[in-house]
């Protein structure tokens, strides 16, 4: 019965819904990234340059 119910659902809008979902998630990520401060990004970017533990380590 569950199989029939699931099969009866209309999936024809899946592609459009997928695009909307993608645009929303991508937009949120883009916004979050652009809000990063220069100070933070410089600090993050320099992490691989040293194998030592840098202090202070918290952001």
């Amino acid at each position: 019965m569950l199989k029939d119910v699931i099969r009866a659902i209309d999936y024809s809008d899946c592609a459009e819904a997928a695009l909307l979902l993608f645009v929303f998630a991508f937009g949120l990520m883009l916004f979050a990234t652009l809000r990063l401060s220069r100070q933070s990004t410089d600090k993050f970017a320099s992490i691989p340059l040293s194998d030592r533990v840098e202090d202070p380590r918290d952001e």
């Binding site: 659902i9 997928a18 979902l21 979050a32 990234t33 030592r52």
Partner: protein, 824 residues
């Protein structure tokens, strides 16, 4: 190398009260993986060279079944991807993760179990693939016991060790390279598990739970994302760590690296269906795959630009440092391959390039250029550090770079030309609408000179890897007697993170606005997102969700919309003998050279016959659509040639066609079918949905009877009754011929009669029998006179009568729905 701290001070504590700990990095495991990378690099490239030569000289290993192109090509791809690139990835992950987390790997035992487990898997692959033990899914050929081992080693050993290291790290922020590693681990796990869901049939055989269109969809969802999450994301992690290290400057834009990461995770997973354009896959899925593939252009090039601009102000180093040379060329090839990939996903271009050597050139520009050069650069950078000595020869490294680069160009340029030529020649038509090149083999014979140049390019590339091996061994020889192990000191991270709020309050605090506006302002500062980025479990869950949700949006409709796969009443399950023959087809790797998918294009229907319908493949487990045409498509091969022709073709293809590049399959003529195994195959197929009845109890008898019929056919046409000790009717070739003669014929078969028609036919038959008995004993009674449609033409006769330009369904289709929008 950092300065060694040889006297750790235990008992010190930081201002927040956490205990200072001493730790060192485990470089022994990095050395192990680096060595394995090198060894498998030599093996993988040599295997590639070998299959390139076999392709031109098919008689080179004549009569050795373990050394045919069909069996060795998967060995080459698996060695290159999972052995060479895989070990390279692990080498990069184990070196960089420890340093980015400022922590030793969580468990040395798991690290070693991972290393030895992975090498064992590769050895198992190297043994089983030449033996013909394969699932026949590209890049997922390994059978289920090895698949289980992969799941345990990948997730249980590697994944757990990696995640626990992240949890126990001493650096608050997870650097972006770690994000790429997380995405790799979770996505490869999901892909591997879902693409390899099978019903086992003994240790070396299984049937997938998916069939036909759905199996194809799952395979290329896997196949494309294996490229994305095994050959792209971990190498990007490698790039974001090792390139700044080698150039000694931070990545050009950290923001761009974050956008690069999330874009790839969000977009890549959707793109798989572009591998199935113009096939029986539903149109909407194909279009969605193309759209998302095109969107990949932006993040991919963003990543490439980010990599190259990291060298800003350091380009002078590139002229002298071979490591940077490898990285620059590797990143450039990344840009080229990721430009070309979306371009090839455009349907019109794909229609030309698919099944041709163009795809092979594209894959190798990515594999040799991007994966190879990045791995070589990393190994050269690591050599002096892990062996704590100088690189033995910079000149040799530079020579490797130039030979490797020239080798790649010599490889890909002629193969691009060959692919373009194949695509154009296959579709070329004259003014009268006839194929200009009706003989498939003629087109292949024209590209053979280009294949020779490819061999030269491959030879140079292998030689370059050999030079690296020499450099590696000589550097290793100058290592110190005992390796210095630097000891570092640092406290663990506290569980409580300093609150951002006081440092990052709302700018609207003093403004006369609603509290909701102030909350929104604080939210928009995205500190919550920063918190997510440093919580490994939450980050992993979110990445997994992004991948799984995107996958479900494509997978669920593909599996559940019934109209995606309209059933065809005349398409029946394979007979027991045909099932056995199909398994031989799979085992020999025929899909490596022959597709089984006629696309809805005039040139294809002219060459092969009616275009393929989704409903024709519902009993195909696994699907055999293939991705390349070194030989002609076989989707409509049934009844086109006589059984004797196939017999002789297996015995000596060049006897029938001098220019053929197919190897002989004499062993199929000389080996007996194991009839005892057939009932298990029938039961497995039945369990998966094939509507068998009598076959379940009489599989052996039915298979033997059909084998006798095929053998009688061969003998009556002049073939042998037996070869050596093997009777023709017992040979494996007979089973394979039975399968091939069935291919693509079902849609032209007469439909089953309705009860009324059966009754009428029965009466007619009885009357005919009476008339024969009473009046004329010599009257011929058609064998299948019970079937009123028996006089209708079958097989290739019908194919020839169909109007070429027509996409109309055959009259015997019970229900039909063209899978594509139209023809070209």
């Amino acid at each position: 190398m950092a300065i060694a701290e040889t006297s750790p001070d235990h008992g010190l504590s930081t201002s927040n009260g956490s205990q200072i700990e001493s730790f060192s990095y485990d470089d022994d495991i990095v050395r192990k993986f680096a060595t394995a990378t090198l060894i498998w690099g030599v093996v993988g490239t040599l295997a590639g060279l070998l299959v390139a030569i076999i392709l031109i000289l098919p008689k080179l290993f004549d009569a050795v079944p373990y050394l045919t192109f069909g069996r060795l090509r998967p060995l080459h791809t698996n060695a290159a991807i999972f052995a060479f690139a895989g070990n390279g990835i692990f080498c990069a992950v184990y070196y960089s993760t420890q340093r980015l987390c400022k922590a030793r790997m969580w468990s040395d035992v798991l690290s070693r179990l991972h290393f030895w487990g992975w090498q064992l898997i590769i050895v198992a692959a190297a043994i089983t693939l030449p033996l013909g033990i394969t699932q026949s899914k590209e890049y997922a050929e390994l059978e289920w016991p090895i698949d289980l081992a992969i799941a345990v080693v990948w997730l249980g050993f590697f994944g757990v060790n990696f995640m626990m290291t992240l949890i126990n790290r001493r650096e608050r922020h997870m650097y972006v390279a770690l994000w790429f590693y997380i995405a790799t681990i979770v996505t490869v796990t999901v892909l591997h598990v879902f693409n390899n869901l099978v019903v086992p049939l003994g240790w070396g055989k299984s049937y997938p739970i998916y069939a036909g269109v759905q199996d194809a969809f799952m395979q290329w969802w896997y196949g494309h994302n294996a490229v994305a999450f095994f050959l792209t994301t971990p190498f990007l992690g490698l790039m974001y760590y090792f390139l700044p290290k080698a150039a000694n400057r931070p990545v050009f834009s950290y923001k761009l690296s974050i956008i690069h990461f999330w874009s790839l995770v969000f977009i890549y997973i959707w793109a798989g269906p572009h591998h199935l354009h113009y096939t029986a896959l539903p149109e909407w899925a194909s279009s969605l795959g193309m759209l998302f593939s095109l969107m990949l252009w932006m993040p991919s090039w963003g990543g490439m630009i980010n990599g190259l601009l990291t060298l800003r102000g350091a380009w002078h180093k590139v002229t002298t440092d071979p490591v940077l040379k490898f990285f620059v060329v590797g990143i450039t090839f990344y840009g080229m391959a990721t430009f070309e990939g979306p371009m090839l996903s455009i349907k019109a271009i794909n229609g030309l390039s698919h099944y041709t050597d163009w795809t092979i050139a594209h894959v190798h520009s990515g594999a040799l250029g991007w994966n190879g050069m990045m791995t070589f650069g990393m190994i050269y950078w690591l050599m002096p550090r892990i062996f704590q000595t100088k690189l033995w020869s910079q000149k040799l490294a530079s020579l490797h770079f130039w030979i490797g680069t020239i080798g790649i160009l010599l490889y890909i340029v002629p193969i691009y030309a060959a692919g373009l030529y194949q695509g154009m020649a296959w579709r070329a038509m004259d003014d009268l609408g006839n194929l200009k090149n009706p003989e498939f083999v003629e087109i292949i014979s024209y590209v053979i000179p280009m294949w020779w140049v490819r061999v030269l390019g491959g030879l140079l590339y292998v030689f370059g890897v050999g030079l690296m091996a020499v450099n590696y061994i000589m550097t290793w020889k100058t290592r110190p007697a005992t390796y210095e192990v630097p000891v570092y000191q640092a406290a663990r991270l506290t569980n409580t993170v300093p609150a951002e709020s006081p440092a990052n309050p709302s700018g609207l605090d003093a403004a006369p606005v609603l509290n909701a506006a102030k909350s929104l302002d604080v939210w928009a500062k995205m500190d919550w997102h920063r918190r997510w980025e440093r919580l490994p479990i939450r980050f992993t869950v979110l990445t997994t969700l992004a991948v799984v949700i995107a996958s479900l949006f494509e997978i669920v409709p593909t599996f559940l919309i019934r109209s995606n796969v309209p059933t065809i009443a005349t398409v029946k399950p394979y007979t027991p003998l045909e099932l056995a023959g199909r398994d031989i087809y799979i085992s020999e790797g025929c899909y490596n050279c022959h597709s089984q998918m006629v696309r809805p294009m005039v040139a294809e229907t002219k060459r092969y016959g009616e275009y393929s319908k989704p409903g024709e493949f519902i009993y195909d487990r696994p699907f055999q659509w293939g991705s390349r045409r070194i030989g002609p498509d076989l989707a409509r091969e049934g009844k086109k040639q006589s059984s004797l022709w196939h017999w002789q073709h297996f015995e000596n293809p060049q006897l029938l066609n001098e220019a053929s590049v197919m190897p002989a399959y004499v062993h199929l003529l000389d080996t007996k079918i194991d009839f005892k195994k057939i009932p298990d195959r029938v039961r497995a197929a039945h369990m998966l949905g094939a509507p068998y009845d009598r076959e379940l109890t009489e599989a052996v008898e039915m298979a033997m009877k059909q084998a006798e019929e095929v053998a009688a056919d061969i003998v009556s046409q002049g073939g042998p009754i037996q070869r050596g000790d093997v009777m023709t009717l017992d040979s494996k070739a007979v089973a394979l011929i039975a399968y091939i003669q069935r291919l693509g014929t079902d849609i032209f078969a007469p439909p089953d009669p309705t009860p009324e028609e059966s009754e009428a036919a029965e009466e007619e038959s009885e009357a005919a029998e009476e008339s024969v008995a009473t009046f004329d004993v010599s009257t011929k009674v058609p064998n299948d006179s019970a079937n009123p449609a028996a006089d209708e033409p079958r097989g290739d006769d019908v194919t020839m009568q169909l109007p070429e330009e027509s996409n109309g369904a055959p009259t015997t289709l019970a229900q039909t729905e063209p899978s594509q929008g139209g023809t070209e």
